[in-house]
Amino acid sequence: MGVKFFGQFLIAHNHVLADDLRKALQMMEERKKSFCALGIEAGHLSLEQGERLVELEKTCILTASQIAIDEGMLPVEVVEDLVEEERKSRIKIGEALIEIGALKDENHLASLLESFHVEQAEYDFADLNLPGGLAGHILAEYVADFVPKLAEKVSSIKLKIDYQEPVEAASYEVVASLVVYGESALRVHLSSDRIFARDLFYGLTACLQEADLEALQAALAEFLNIVLGNAIAALERHDITAELDTPVLGISEYGKEMTYFSLASTNGKATLGLEPL
């Protein structure tokens, strides 16, 4: 269940050991050459320029290659060559695992990659054409795509979201929200009645005991955490990084920038709110 990366898949299915993966990751790390190191090695950057680039990279969201162009340190053609060299210096996890003998050969790797892609197919990107300010927001699209899939996995709740028809904010009793920071920042808000939250709670805890409002809100929050964590993991496949905050409980409504969608379900009523930040 959930989004996995290839190494994790290999361990989960006993194809490699955690120690093998660790060795492979270490090998990848050792082989990898940074943009700055390559620039210095090729004589395009002085040691001082390289160190300055490393420092600048730490303090802003731009990569060293982008900074090198912006600061006029290197011409674009040289930067492109160095970026290509940097890419070539990176070996993939599968290649590293073959090299250390944890996987047999290319054929073995190819068959495992195929199984991995089959298992992960349901988490491939779905283009949902969200309306208004959410159009083209890749994380929002993942979230909207994952909410029904994960609700069914977690609690067997079948639901549909009408993405094309936003609704007014509904003042349901149980509410939780969660913020994702980074390149694809987003606030996600889930609000439901007690029936929906209770069934989610039953699924998440595998327990049929009564839950008070706080426990129900915590269940909604944990569900959002699962959806967003998996969405962030999927986002990394597009080389977009994001950070997950801890959940906020009980804030029933946000500002006008939040778009709400009704969740049609046989297990109570709920709305999903999405706000690009």
Binding site: F6, T205, E236
Partner: protein, 132 residues
């Protein structure tokens, strides 16, 4: 099975529903005993000063001290401690790789179910037996 053969586990997670689910599943699995729980990395570091579990299962995103920071701290203080990460973010390559580099024995993605935990406990029991 004698008490010494049990796999002792500490769970570190800020979500009450995860703690309830985990505890419920552990109760159903023979030979595994919950020693305690902590709700964030800071609590975990304190708790592990007095408890010596065979396995710590820990979330990544938590208030005060996140799971990866706590993993680093715990492994520095208890180098032989076995820690498995259990997080919705575990499918994130960067986090999972970091966790493995810091010494995690397994990285599991939420949502989790009984089969995942059984597999984890089974491999950790085998490790405990082989380590004597």
């Amino acid at each position: 099975m004698s008490e010494n053969d049990s796999l002792t586990v500490v769970l570190v997670d800020d979500s009450p529903s995860v703690v309830a689910h985990f505890r419920g599943l552990v109760d159903c699995i023979d030979g595994v005993e919950m020693l305690g729980t902590a709700t964030d990395g800071v609590e975990a570091v304190v708790l592990l000063k007095s408890l010596q579990p065979d396995l710590v299962v820990m979330d990544i995103v938590m208030p005060r001290m996140d799971g990866l920071t706590a993993l680093r701290a715990l492994r520095a203080e208890h180098p032989r401690l076995r820690v498995a990460m259990l997080s919705s973010l575990a499918g994130s390559r960067s986090r999972a790789e970091q966790a493995f580099k810091l010494g995690a024995v397994q990285v599991l993605t939420k949502p989790f179910d009984e089969s995942k935990l059984r597999a984890l406990f089974s491999s950790e029991k085998a490790h405990k037996t082989s380590a004597g």
